[in-house]
Symmetry: C2
Subunit: 353 residues, 2 copies
């Protein structure tokens, strides 16, 4: 994994690859400034719902370490939490992580805790470790759903870089590949920012997987030809009823998979489940700037005067999801009750913002 | 139309804009060499099924004009026809045009006709004029299908540049806009070559239409939100049963439109109907090179060692098509018999390759 360092915390610094510049530039960022982390989240230098959650937790630790103990430190941490919470609206992991940090902060603040930053660090490290464990369990639980000889299709990027651990949907695919079950992985390039072409294809090729890149609108044709045995995606938020917010294009894939009787699997840690959001209708979907579509690599592709509509996510209704593959188990419809049970079992249960 | 010269024939030369370089460079090509035209068709400098048909006809005239009368001239024309027929496999208009030119050629050759190139030119001009007339009729017949206040979605490019006349699907949309019926046009950027972003958005903005560019995988989300009232596409070939071969991504749009009960209209001249192809299964779908997806504007976007699958077209089953809007009338299901009747009525009836 020499060429692929993951999110790494040591000596009071957070280190990560700037994903927005991969695979052509490997820019390793090392920072002790929480504002740098917030900017990386906003600009997709750090992306993937679980990775955002882990990085935000460490960023709060960085804020705490920047001040001496006392009321000023607590205020500085609160400001950092507010700032971090405004970076991206859809991934629930961000808010869950920040809430856990806030709880610890307020407990420490009320106790006049001189050792706040150390205690915050312990929580951040725990969040990170929980995510690593979740990724490993998701892979182990999901891989058997891919029978030998399978060709699978995936969208966006859900590998190691997108989490604090080994990844979600892509981790399942890689685990199945190591077990000898995967013939070919079709990768949606995933416009506009090409996470599929840049990141997913990169991870797969490094692992020696037979990888075929397609434009997003080729997926329907492939499914119609019968070349895809299952579709695998991650999630940025899963509502209480099982509706899934994920990268724009996921809904389209789900509709196509259902039409062709191909299983549509969503792999995500239970920390992505948000019981306070009743259904997908309640999920705020981030809109990005026009220039992500009207330009490419700094070069304008559309004529002057054209605006673009650039939702980063869409919502897939639970009726189109074959199963949610979580670290706590593979959940099949009806999702509602099972999801509530899972949340009760997970290591950290609170999902309150 | 100063900035938008169409395919133009005069003084024994063919003039056209190199579509592969629009909108950032307006390169006007003027040639009397049929091989230049063939290369432009292959590299998408000339694209759009009707435009390909018209340009190929003129190219045969160029071949004839390059030789003095006699057996050598006929042989040179036959070679040119063979060469042109190998440029792109899917658009039927190419083969229909070349067949008409070949008929004229063989009639002249057997008669020892000293005036062959003049007679070939008359056929090419007729093919061009028929296409112009077809575009105008398609617009007039299609526009009433767009009720006032409509927002429509279109894929790829089907405007003036794609035909010898005013266009097909985009011509319908523009005619409806001029009648005051169109609120917003959503344009799929249409990966990999971005004909939607580069050409369709360009034509619409020049006409003052409210234009919103989207990535191809945003269309499903928009349809789900209820923001699209009808979907309009062109066709590269329509089989006898009404199955439609068109730009990759059309099938996906048709599936999504059907799911959301939004009409899916296919606008094309009857010259695009190929009665010899029983269904879409019989249509050869062109595959393009990997680099159209792995690179962008000459810059590699995917990592080394990744191959791409790049079909240029897909097939939409007739069951997903609301109506075929042709120059001979608006055809609704069941298509088979009506299409056979239409072919019987059109100015030139032969579709024999």
């Amino acid at each position: 994994m020499v060429n692929r360092p993951r999110l790494e915390w040591s000596d009071g610094k957070l280190r990560y690859l700037d994903q927005s510049r991969l695979p052509h530039e490997s820019v390793l960022i090392e920072t002790d400034d929480h504002r740098v982390v917030a900017r990386s989240i906003r600009t997709l230098g750090i992306r993937g719902a679980p990775a955002i959650g882990v990085a935000a937790a460490y960023a709060v630790v960085l804020a705490a370490r920047a001040c001496g103990a006392g009321p000023e430190q607590a205020r500085h941490c609160r400001d950092a939490i507010t700032h971090l919470s405004e970076t991206r609206p859809t991934a629930v992991n961000l808010f869950v992580s920040l809430e856990r940090m806030r709880e610890q902060l307020e407990a420490g603040a009320s106790a006049g805790d001189a050792d706040l930053s150390r205690r915050l660090e312990a929580i951040a490290v725990a969040i990170h470790r929980e995510d690593q464990d979740a990724c490993a369990r998701i892979a182990a639980l999901g891989a058997p759903l891919i029978p030998p000889g399978s060709s699978v299709l995936t969208h966006c990027h859900t590998g190691a870089l997108a989490t604090g651990g080994g990844g979600t949907a892509l981790n399942v695919i890689l685990e199945a590949f190591r077990r000898g079950s995967v013939r070919t992985v079709y990768v949606d390039e995933t416009r506009p920012l090409l996470q599929g072409a840049r990141l997913t294809a990169w991870e797969l090729v490094q692992e020696g997987v037979d990888t075929v890149l397609i434009t997003d609108s080729t997926a329907g044709h492939l499914l119609k030809l019968g070349r895809v045995d299952s579709v695998w995606v991650g999630a940025d938020r899963i509502a209480a009823n099982g509706d899934v917010a994920n990268k724009i294009g996921t809904y389209t894939l789900a509709v196509l998979a259902a039409r062709h009787n191909v299983p549509m699997y969503v792999a995500a840690p239970v920390s992505t489940v948000d019981l306070l959001t009743v259904s997908g209708d309640g999920i705020t979907l981030e809109e990005r700037g026009s220039d992500e579509v009207t330009s490419f690599g700094g070069v304008q592709v559309a004529p002057d005067g054209v605006r673009a509509y650039v939702p980063a996510f869409d919502v897939t209704p639970h009726t189109l999801v074959t199963a949610l593959v979580t670290d706590a188990g593979v959940v099949r419809p009806p999702f509602g009750e099972t999801l509530r049970d899972l949340i009760g079992q997970r290591p950290r249960a609170e999902v309150n913002r």
